[in-house]
């Protein structure tokens, strides 16, 4: 249909360099940081993007991500698939996710153990699911569909929760382990979420971690949280992603890396996003722990127990 425009060489048959996410620190990609990241002497290990932000047809977002992808491995993190949904998955949305994955060849693809859509309303939040048999079956079926469509393994992220369902019949760690075993999916361990949920639900994060199927973990998330109180004045932590990673979360992270060895680690900062150097500082802190633990890990301390 065009006549005078020069023949366009399409990007489709261009293969990016390595897709593999190294066991290093990465950062959640924000449009405002793109130029700083591309021009930084510090080469971040990888960048992670929310899949939904790249589901537009074209324009600046794709231009920026293509420039990033030409220099860095990326991971794609979905926030809108609603895997815990009670009335099925949106096939159109899975196809959109597939387009993003096909286009950018990410090293890892992940989603959440949560729901966000019901009856054609999208809630823009990661809402909790009951840990019971019908929900387990449903989530497993949904993950099978996603993995079959994408023709690859996805990672499932543990949620941050503020309450629980009385109808739950199993623990979150049993629930997650069962999903991983049945679907073959990997796990994304969000240590900030572990700390938040443990505080909010009144159990010890180390207990949770000791029961979590760490052998299935292929990526770690770290982020900052806010502090509030519940109806009775007890601490209620909010998964705000709006500040540096908490010291308690760094400590847990250090222990987990000591246990499972170096692992791709994403620092998320989604609200009140600071200048790139502030986020970079968080990434460097993770890099330091990864490096230190890599040395001892090589010396054979991998059997040190968690907790």
């Amino acid at each position: 249909m065009t006549t005078s425009a020069p023949t366009q060489k399409t990007q489709i048959d261009t293969r990016f360099r390595s897709a593999t996410i190294p066991p290093r620190a990465g950062a959640g990609l924000k449009p405002a940081h793109v130029d700083a990241i591309l021009n930084d002497d510090y080469r971040i290990g990888f960048l992670e993007v929310h899949a939904e932000n790249y589901m537009g047809d074209g324009g600046a977002p794709h231009r920026a991500l293509t420039a990033i992808r030409e220099q860095f491995p990326i991971s794609v993190h979905g926030v809108g698939l609603s895997i815990g949904s009670e009335n099925g998955l949106d096939n159109t949305h899975i196809e959109r996710l597939k387009s993003v994955v096909d286009r950018y060849e990410p090293g890892l693809v992940s989603e959440h153990l949560a729901w966000s859509t019901h009856d054609n309303s999208y809630y823009n939040d990661l809402l909790p699911v009951p840990y019971d048999q019908p929900t387990l079956d449903r989530v497993c079926t949904h993950i099978d569909v996603v993995q079959n469509t994408l023709k690859r393994k996805i990672l499932l992220e543990n949620p941050s929760t503020y309450l629980q369902f009385e109808q739950s019949t199993m623990s979150e760690t049993d629930f997650v382990r069962e999903i991983a075993q049945r679907t073959g999916c990997g796990l994304l361990l969000d240590i900030n979420n572990v700390f938040i949920s443990a505080t909010n639900q009144n159990y010890k994060p180390m207990t949770y971690l000791s029961e979590f199927p760490l052998d299935r973990v292929e990526e770690i998330h770290l982020a900052g949280h806010a502090t509030d109180t519940d109806d009775e004045g007890d601490t209620l932590l909010i998964d705000a992603h709006d500040r540096p990673v908490d010291d308690a979360v760094w400590k847990l992270y250090d222990i987990v890396i000591g246990q499972i060895g170096p692992m791709p680690t994403l620092v998320e900062w989604d609200n009140d996003v600071p200048e790139w150097p502030v986020l970079r500082r968080e990434a460097k802190l993770a890099d330091e722990i990864l490096q230190r633990r890599a040395e001892t890990y090589m010396l054979g301390t991998r059997h040190a127990a968690v907790g």
């Binding site: 249909m1 425009a5 074209g58 109808q167 159990y203 949770y208 109806d231």
Partner: protein, 276 residues
């Protein structure tokens, strides 16, 4: 498994449909659904409100991202209250939040507290169109010299392929000036809001561009976008504005990148198959 991480109730509760959770999220008048608890079965009203708040604040934030000029015009507090009503009335149906707010301009038309800002709905329409153009598919724009390949006697019959980012906005108010002043500068000049304005949104590369259109030009471009040939579009334009300047409209059209190419009319280069 730690006992503390177990569900708190000894007997299995009746399963709760997520539909109950869902409708309680959207209706702040409803209490916390039965079956949702804190640790040791303690009540979870504030806990449930965290989810309610996340949903509402998140969607209000999405609207503020899409409609920054509207927000600036009414102020942050007013915008938040107004957006809160819209979020309740018309929640998004898609996880693609950059598409949320199609009905926001129409909502503003009927939002009583903002009725005195008569131009507000048009500014919202412009902002929505701007973001649609921002995310539109990439496409090469029609090269100016392409038009010279058309024989003069065929020019009036020539049709064009519209660029995916192209939008034409017609306002009974000075919506384009108001939009530009509130999105692109720190200080807002005095604007006579009652002057009707037409605007053209295009995207030659990745940057969205907005132009004021002279009288007749909006009708001209709209006709071309609808697939009418150049001659007929010019006639429409002249019927709307006697002083319509065809040469300068064509110049603006080529400069702005309204079209991607000459539509196939069965002549000349337009016969060549698409290179793809």
């Amino acid at each position: 498994m730690p006992l503390s991480a177990r569900p708190s109730s000894k007997e299995m509760a009746d399963p709760m449909s997520l539909a109950v959770f869902s409708s309680a999220l959207s209706d702040p008048q409803t209490g916390t659904p039965d079956g949702l608890v804190g640790p040791d079965g303690k009540k979870a009203a504030k806990r449930f409100n965290v989810y309610r708040n996340n949903v509402t604040v998140g969607l209000i934030g999405a609207l503020a991202d899409t409609f920054p000029a509207v927000q600036r015009l009414v102020g942050e507090q007013f915008f938040e209250a107004m957006a809160r009503v819209y979020v309740q009335t018309e929640p998004p149906s898609s996880p693609l939040l950059f598409r949320y707010g199609d009905g926001f301009a129409d909502f503003l038309e009927h939002f009583e507290p903002a009725q005195h800002l008569v131009y507000l709905p048009d500014v919202a329409r412009l902002e929505r169109a701007w973001l649609d153009a921002y995310h539109a598919a990439d496409a090469p724009v029609l090269a100016p010299e392409a038009l010279s390949t058309v024989a003069p006697e065929d020019l009036a019959d020539q049709r064009f392929d519209v660029h995916p980012a192209t939008r034409i906005i017609r306002s009974r108010f000075a919506a384009i000036s108001i939009f530009s002043a509130n999105r692109m500068s720190d200080t807002v000049p005095s604007i006579d809001t009652s002057v009707a304005e037409d605007g053209l949104i295009t995207r030659r590369d990745t940057e969205v561009e907005i132009r004021h259109l002279p009288p007749g030009a909006a009708a001209f471009f709209s006709a071309l976008v609808d697939g009418q040939p150049l001659g007929a579009a010019a006639e429409v334009a002249v019927s709307k504005a006697e002083d319509f300047n065809l040469a300068s409209a064509i110049g603006a059209m080529l400069e702005a990148g309204v079209f991607t190419g000459l539509a196939d009319t069965g002549r000349g280069e337009a016969d060549e198959p698409d290179p793809e």
